[in-house]
Symmetry: C2
Subunit: 561 residues, 2 copies
């Protein structure tokens, strides 16, 4: 683009180029906007063959990897199948940013050739298409991250994570949509527009990894990579009925990926996987850590994948665990479907022979305030510096009524402070982390297992996917970023107006609680997926995955019973 182009021209050009990157014969006649639930459409649209549907409906990534390794399915056909479904998803819910079919299929063909000629796989993710949030640089592609100002910003090399995924045999095949600044729990920006929830297009898919959430929801990708600074992996995972892991700081390499608020390293964003299967979550983590990311990313923790931890060595080998349920965070009472999901999980775990007690939350409000104070310290200057290049407005709301733009190019929630003031916020947060850790350790007195609580079962939001512009509470996820706890989401149920009737008003804890109560209406939320999160301690990725498997199996057993 010419230097003098304004942001609208940059966007118009980028949108033209994005459209042109879609193979014309993959365009379909999409249902009208009035059709809210579009989850069945990919199977009905006729674009995918029976075999392609079989492939894309194989939600278990472990099975996909087996079939790829056995050359039962080639990488080219698996990649083609998911690509077609991803393009259908794009037409339904607007979830993609970069589309690069030739590059991906060339890579898949290489992998097929390698397997055929050597008889062995390139790595543990051989042939698997993987979608990437629009932060993870791929050499030669633009990383716009929802900024008009970054249109034309071509990466000169792969992010460390992309390098590692290639070495593991994966096939990065699409990049996915985000909100401008990445600091919203919904997905809307001025370049690519808004991503919708496939279960109900009037609802948000969440954010900031909302493109991933919506895409995987529609089975347009078997495994995706998002990032999470306050819930940005988990919120879309929950709102789309997925598994999504928020690892600890530095367990997955971030170096070479784009981001907002560079240099804010006190409460950093982390990369992590989203998938329709827990086997996808595990395969990703094991593969990435197996490549020793600390040799390429100085912030990656030198810590191997720990099979003993995965076997729950520190948690009674997974027998008779003690889970604790966080019914509410004492800030906002979750909506009825979330409470029902907690009850279902409690009952399933109890039936599976585990103990379930109540989790007593402490200082969630203070932790949420601390994390916000850290981000706000320099956020506005960051947003201004980034958007200045094109003159694009800073989006100040995710509401669709004004398309998120207000006149003042200021987000009123962010006011800069001095470095010294930032340190005070960071110090307050350090003390809260210590207090929370001590609190957790003290549960050894009430579990009866001789151990503190093994994991917390917590809402990831006080609601299922809300209408666009209404996702105003990220406290249930954000508190865990403040604590740097590992959390993995799992799907439980869907909003059902019969089972999830609105309750009479309770004694409201505060204004936010009242606002949240008023937001609920069973019909509005109808069909929205409902999930929860399993919460473990810092650097307990292996154990949290294993415990989520236990919870997931218990729920499936209970559903089958």
């Amino acid at each position: 683009m010419s230097q003098g182009a304004n942001w609208q021209e940059l966007v118009a050009d980028k949108q033209r180029r994005q459209k042109a990157s879609i193979p014309q014969d993959w365009l379909v006649a999409v249902p009208p906007a009035a059709v809210l639930d579009v989850t069945a459409f990919p199977e009905q649209c006729g674009l995918l063959s029976e075999r392609e549907l079989q492939i894309t409906n194989t939600v278990d990534v472990g099975v996909l990897l087996q079939k790829l390794a056995a050359a039962e399915w080639s990488s080219v056909e698996v990649t083609t199948a998911f690509y077609k479904r991803a393009i259908v998803a794009q037409q339904l819910v607007n979830c993609l940013t970069e589309i690069f079919v030739d590059k991906a299929l060339a890579r898949a063909a290489e992998l097929d050739k390698h397997l055929k000629s050597t008889g062995s796989v390139v790595g543990p993710l051989h042939g698997l298409p993987v979608s990437l949030k629009d932060q993870i640089n791929l050499k030669g592609l633009e990383t716009t991250m929802g900024y008009a100002s970054w249109i034309g910003k071509y990466a000169d090399k792969d992010a460390v994570l992309a390098e590692i995924l290639y070495e593991c045999g994966a096939v990065p095949f699409v990049r996915t949509n985000v909100p401008q600044t990445l600091m919203w729990p919904e997905t809307y920006n001025l370049v690519f527009g808004r991503t919708l929830n496939p279960a109900n297009r009037l609802l948000t898919p969440g954010g900031s990894s909302g493109g991933e959430g919506a895409l995987i929801h529609l089975r347009g990708s078997p495994l995706g990579v998002g990032s999470d600074i306050g819930g940005s992996i988990r919120i879309p995972a929950l709102f789309n009925g997925l598994y999504g892991l928020r690892p600890s700081y530095g367990r997955v390499p971030y170096a070479g990926s784009s981001n907002s608020m560079y240099g804010q390293d006190s409460i950093p964003s982390v990369l992590g996987p989203l998938s329709n299967s827990l086997s996808g979550i595990k395969a990703f983590m094991q593969a990435v850590i197996g490549r020793e990311p600390w040799l390429r990313d100085p912030l990656a923790v030198r810590k191997k994948w720990d099979d003993e931890a995965y076997a729950l060595a520190g948690h009674g080998s997974g027998q008779a665990l003690c889970f604790a349920i966080l019914w509410d965070d004492r800030i906002v009472i979750p909506h009825p479907p979330v409470i029902r999901a907690l009850e279902m999980t409690r009952d399933a775990l109890t039936a599976a022979g585990h103990k379930v007690i109540d989790w007593k939350p402490i200082k969630h409000l203070e932790l949420n305030d601390a994390i916000s104070a850290v981000w706000k310290a320099g956020a506005l200057e960051d947003y201004r510096a980034t958007t200045a290049a094109s003159g694009e407005p800073i989006i100040s709301s995710m509401s669709p009524t004004n398309d998120g733009i207000v006149d003042a190019s200021v987000r009123p929630d962010v006011i800069g402070v001095s470095a010294y003031q930032l340190w005070q916020a960071q110090n307050a947060r350090a003390h809260l982390r210590k207090e929370y850790l001590d609190h957790w350790e003290q549960t050894v007195e009430v579990t009866g297992t001789g151990r503190p609580v093994d994991a917390i079962i917590s809402p990831g939001a006080p609601f299922a996917a809300p209408p666009h512009g209404k996702n105003g509470n990220s406290n249930y996820t954000k508190v865990l970023n403040a604590l740097d706890y590992v959390a993995c989401t799992f799907p439980v149920t869907k909003v059902d107006p019969t089972l999830d009737a609105k309750k009479p008003p309770h004694q409201f804890l505060n204004d936010a609680d009242e606002v949240n109560y008023n937001l609920y209406d069973p019909v509005t939320f109808q069909n929205a997926p409902v999930g929860l999160q399993v919460v473990g301690r810092t650097l307990e990725e292996e154990a949290v995955i294993a415990m989520t498997e236990i919870v997931d199996s218990a729920l499936k057993a209970a559903a089958g019973a």
Copy 2:
């Protein structure tokens, strides 16, 4: 103290109380100030019995621990012996802050009783007296950290590290001197005054853990704990001929210890051991990590002591390693004795069958600038906030001519910036870390071992212990805090006017290099210990200790040859 007391009154009272805490019969007739080398005095002063000298001259902590565990020496007699020697050291070089003989001996007696009645040790450090830098809170004692404003600040609980040391069977027995703010590489404050170097009292023992350095130098403690944010463990270790380990962020728990610049968590200070023996360094690390500090300190890394890493699994099992020598950092050329130490180490390693190549430093200036920019961002406001309570001046120089106080209570080197500007400095530093890591990895092409360089042998300072007020260059240590690399110091030699003659001027790299050249004079530095550091990567504590053992053995073999 009364609320209205001024800082001089507070200090006078604290000094009176400190003097009173010394058993009167442990006071000795000290040599006059003109006697510079006082290292032999503890053995000559007559206070310690033959047996007490035998105990305190046992520099190998492994041997001390064996004798304690075998009840060959009781903890009471070992603690008494070191305590007496520490009090002699205090009279010679002013290295102590808190003195608490009764508390320590009561603890030692408890341990003796336990061993006698149960036949087993309390933990891996059973009975061992351990000195602590004046940051590590002990319940019931004041932590002043060199601030008049903190006189009367009694800790209501032990720091996490102190808790763990107690559980390991250690006997915390003295606390040691620091500079005001902790942010100087020398040791002087308005409460306790200046600590001197026992090898030559006109020289600094370094800082900020200078009290530890001087105390252990005189064998007044077998094992001490310091902290290192820019070299504060390693500088005193080097200037006093000791082993001193700078662990990675979070490998040793910091929670519950006092500090300056609370909340500055980008380049945090770390706690680590100093000792006359490497067995002391290893015993400390293994014992502390063995207590799973991450269950009590949320910032402690969940990473067990790794015996495979200690066996150098990632480094050819310690056979035919490739070391790289950093001859200079391209900022300041080290003085002749430091160059001689590098040559001695190179020759010893070569003779021991290891390969030694040259290390090419990159961006040391930029890394040092980055780390300084982070600290300076809010340092002055921190110092002002802390000193305001008593009205004490902020020390602006370590020079003894004006006792370090200038009229303006401002350190001119620290100017606050906004949080956003701090983020920019932090971001610049993150990029430099990535660049350095890639640079290290690329050495795989030149080592001939199939691995990148196993460890760097680096100066820890461009000089041996300089005269008070002259330690103006911490770049050789600070750069490793910026990189979060593990570094362990080891002693090599002493400044010898015959061997270390001043060289003719070289082509100066810059003004700092010229200043440093002019500082050297073999007679001024006479007798000062000269050490170096073994440098490994982040979270490689086990391997760095093992490689320092290799270097140390090679030097001892060469000296014996």
